[in-house]
């Protein structure tokens, strides 16, 4: 009786062994899927919905002030616009030229944090999308672009009295940053109710910084 069970079991083991070998034999002939260098559309969409591609203006201002060596700002607007005003240390890669081989080395790297910016977020996001499609790493977007940069860093608005301490801390930081970037004088005042009215004389600064940004 016991022998019969053992024999049956052995038969089953032989069957399973042969079956497994047959299935795994097929895998030898399964062609490898190549050309996966690019990112999948589904993944791209997921990343697009994800807010982690953004850096806020405060984060970028802090990085510039701290002279973070890993930061690489990339201005995707036209050279004329960049001439007028650009962020300190930024390089100018107009979005039309983003695929030029000249820039490949700057864009496809694993060391620096590339942050794209334009006036708003549209062009910078387009640039980011193209770069992500190429599956280059470390690409981000300045949230709100230069418009946001002006309204938060260059001319920060004082928080209303009902807001918490954090809002005040942020404001204090922005006032300091505003000074650093040569922003409106009004923002320097300690009176938190006063909103800055003067437009910053930033153009002068821009020319000087552009030279820095080239390297």
């Amino acid at each position: 009786m016991e022998e019969k069970i053992i024999k049956q079991r052995k038969k089953r083991y032989v069957f399973l062994t042969v079956l497994l070998l047959a299935i795994v034999f097929i895998t030898i002939f399964i062609p490898e899927k190549q050309n996966r260098e690019q990112i999948e559309p589904e993944e791209l969409l997921a990343e697009l919905k994800d807010e982690t591609r953004f850096f806020t203006t405060d984060e970028i201002a802090e990085k510039i002030i701290m002279e973070d060596p890993s930061l690489q700002l990339i201005d995707v607007r036209s050279p004329e616009e960049f001439e007028q005003y650009g962020l300190p240390g930024a390089i100018n890669i107009p979005i039309e030229n983003i695929l030029d081989t000249e820039w490949t080395e700057s864009l496809n790297q694993d060391i620096k944090t590339n942050v794209f910016y334009s006036n708003g977020t549209i062009y910078s996001s387009q640039a980011w999308l193209i770069i992500r499609r190429l599956n280059y790493k470390n690409s981000y977007v300045l949230k709100g672009g230069l418009n946001e940069w002006f309204s938060t860093i260059i001319m920060p608005k004082a928080p209303s009295s009902v807001e918490d301490d954090h809002a005040m801390d942020v404001y204090q930081f922005r006032k300091g940053a505003s000074l650093f970037f040569g922003g409106a004088k009004g923002a320097v005042s300690d009176d938190t109710n006063e909103t800055p009215k003067q437009v910053a004389p930033v153009k002068k600064k821009a020319n000087h910084e552009e030279e820095e940004g080239g390297c």
Binding site: L21, V24, T27, E32, E43
Partner: protein, 198 residues
């Protein structure tokens, strides 16, 4: 289509809950398979019970074959799944330590949690040991760091390293596994203790 969470089919917020459910199911199956018994687990080292080897090796092979087919059908993108980066020397030392702990303590980390859950005191002591070990590693990390990061090779896949196709490697691996299974039957028969209670 997959990996589901990475491609956004499932929101990342569910990750922990899914992990918890899979963990519970895994623990349940381990316990059902008798893996909360030290005698069964260390049978592998003494050569009288090879169930552990068979179960885990079978699991790995079935998953591997399934993934290759899924990849072919486009249900999962194998290039997108996470692969543990290889650190050669720490891995070798770590696996030797793990094996030693396995044969001395009579559990592997997962099964010790299972056995502790059904009230085995030795497993609870084993778990305590795990936590002490974690503490030592965590607080002594500066001491270990250099070794911990040595031999970094990044994402290494065996079939790419050998320069053969994925399917061929899988075929060789499966053949080896089946060979070991058949060999283990003979070894087990030789070392079988009739009145061993699990």
């Amino acid at each position: 289509m997959g990996p589901l969470i990475k491609l956004g089919a499932i929101d990342a917020g569910w990750e922990l809950l899914i992990a918890l459910l899979i963990g519970i199911a895994f623990g349940f199956v381990l316990e059902q398979a008798g893996f909360s018994s030290s005698r069964k687990l260390v049978g592998l080292f003494y050569g009288y019970d090879f169930v552990v080897l068979k179960v885990f090796f079978t699991g790995a092979i079935v998953a591997a074959i399934g993934l290759v087919f899924f990849n072919y059908f486009g249900w999962i993108n194998l290039d997108r799944i996470f692969v543990n980066p290889t650190y050669l020397w720490p891995t070798l030392v770590g696996s030797a330590l793990m094996g030693l702990g396995f044969v001395v303590g009579g559990f592997c980390p997962g099964t010790s949690a299972c056995a502790a859950a059904i009230g085995k005191i030795d497993a609870m002591v084993f778990l305590g040991g795990i936590f002490i070990g974690i503490m030592i590693f965590a607080f002594g990390y500066p001491l270990f760091e250099e070794f911990y990061k040595s031999g970094a090779q990044g994402r290494v896949l065996v079939h790419e390293y050998l320069g053969i196709s994925r399917g061929l490697f899988l075929f060789i691996l499966t053949t080896v596994a089946l060979g070991i299974f058949w060999l283990s039957v003979g070894v087990q028969r030789k070392n079988h203790h009739k009145n061993l209670k699990y």
